[in-house]
Amino acid sequence: METVDISIFSLGLVFLLLAVPVGMSVYYRLNMTGAMLFSVLRMSLQLFLIGIFLKYLFLWNNPFINAAWLIVMILVAVFSAIKGSSMKAKKVLVPIFISFSAATFLILLYINVFVIRLDMVFDARYLIVLGGMLLGNSLRGNIVGIDSFYRSIRKDSKRYLYSLSLGASHHEAYLPYLKESVQLALKPTVASMATMGIVALPGMMTGAILGGASPDVAIKYQIMIMIAILVSTILSVLLTIVLTLKVCFTGYGTLREDIFEK
């Protein structure tokens, strides 16, 4: 069972659908036509290029190139995580890069070696595709986690300092904020797992089924990736916070002001 290909002409017919949002935007003066078309154009171009790129990546299937591309993906994820938070890139770049890499590589290796049992652990189809899903899904959690941790300590500095004055160790003083931020970061992942399959058919499963896989293979992959996302998210959020502590606090246990973007 092969996936039915979409010809270039047929793809053009999909773009015809855009007349609907453009028409609505004009009629209701939503002022969104430009931004919408720009995003569609950008998405198409990016995907077109990545399509060519992936074709060659799969063709060569060289473990070193694959690993190098995964690192590029991690770097992009790190920069968008920092951009989405209120932290200064210069201060937190290295610790966040280390935690993203550790979390992604560890989980991928475990899955590729023990679960899927690949002969070639760095096989592009699994490394890049699964790595992309892990990064894409843990990214949002990371932004929420690190941002809420440092911002709530800053906003709540009186309470935080007061607990230090009551004899709390640094660890004891930041623990309530850590707890809150990790809960916040994981909430959407946990919630979406609970409704999975009922409310929405997840993207990976849809892709696998369209790609010709039978539904029972597709669900096994989906279960695997959901658990992998949960683990890599909590791992990278916690690592990110723990590894940035040294940079973001003074020896007195107070928060450094120069870690925040103005």
């Binding site: 709540d156 009186k158 309470r159 300092l161 007061y162 607990s163 230090l164 004055s165 009551l166 004899g167 709390a168 160790s169 004891e172 003074t250 020896g251 007195y252 246990g253 107070t254």
Partner: protein, 212 residues
């Protein structure tokens, strides 16, 4: 007990102290006076290491306050200010979270001890079940004083702790701290109950000299 040695401090280019010298001896009761913004609260922040001076040193019990020693200072000094931020949960939960800090494992947070102090400070028992955010300013301040007394701190840094209390209670609280010979107390307060005490020494933060 506490010694400020040639402290220079500025915030956002504004000079707060330029070479402040001040020594508070063990057992002394000091009232700090001066208009607001003169740096009375900064003085307490310096002792607890929340603020680090641009130059000069703070000594606590003979030891220079730095990144290492400050953690011990915080176990010996109690700091209570006018709007204590005692967490979000119920008052009783807050007491138990403080008693849960490793450094406080020896403190007596038993119900008997808490009720005894609540009684002395005119607080009703059922306050323990209330949310901290529902307490009045005066109730929060007294709760914070109770914690510092349970922790058996010997040095107290008090910032306007009687502002929200009625006249009788002001007297009672001031007496608790100023008539106990064991305690070293530095306080900022506009309430005359503190400065009228025969034990009080007065330090004028504007002229930077002892008045009494």
């Amino acid at each position: 007990m506490i010694k400020f040695d040639k402290i220079c401090l500025s915030f956002d280019g504004k000079k707060i102290f330029s070479g402040l010298d001040l020594e508070i001896a063990s057992g002394e009761k000091v009232v700090l006076s001066g208009r607001s913004g003169i740096g009375k609260s900064s003085l307490f922040g310096l002792v607890l290491g929340f603020i680090v001076p641009d130059s000069g040193s703070v000594f606590f019990d003979g030891v220079r306050v730095d990144e290492k020693s400050v953690w011990d200072v915080r176990k010996k000094a109690a700091f209570v200010d006018q709007d204590v931020s005692a967490g979000y949960g119920r008052l009783g939960d807050w007491f138990s979270s403080v008693s849960g800090f490793k450094a406080n494992s020896d403190a007596d947070f038993s119900d008997d001890r808490i009720f005894e102090l609540m009684d002395r400070l005119d607080l009703k028992k059922d306050l323990l079940g209330k949310n901290v955010s529902e307490l009045s300013g005066g109730e929060r301040q007294r709760s914070a004083l109770i914690v510092s007394l349970i922790l058996k701190r010997k040095v107290f840094l008090l910032d306007e702790v009687t502002s929200a209390l009625d006249k009788e209670l002001k007297k009672k609280v001031a007496a608790m701290f100023f008539e106990d010979a064991d305690l070293t107390v530095a306080c900022v307060s506009h309430d005359p109950v503190w400065s009228e005490s025969p034990n009080a020494r007065m330090f004028d933060m504007e002229a930077l000299e002892w008045k009494r």
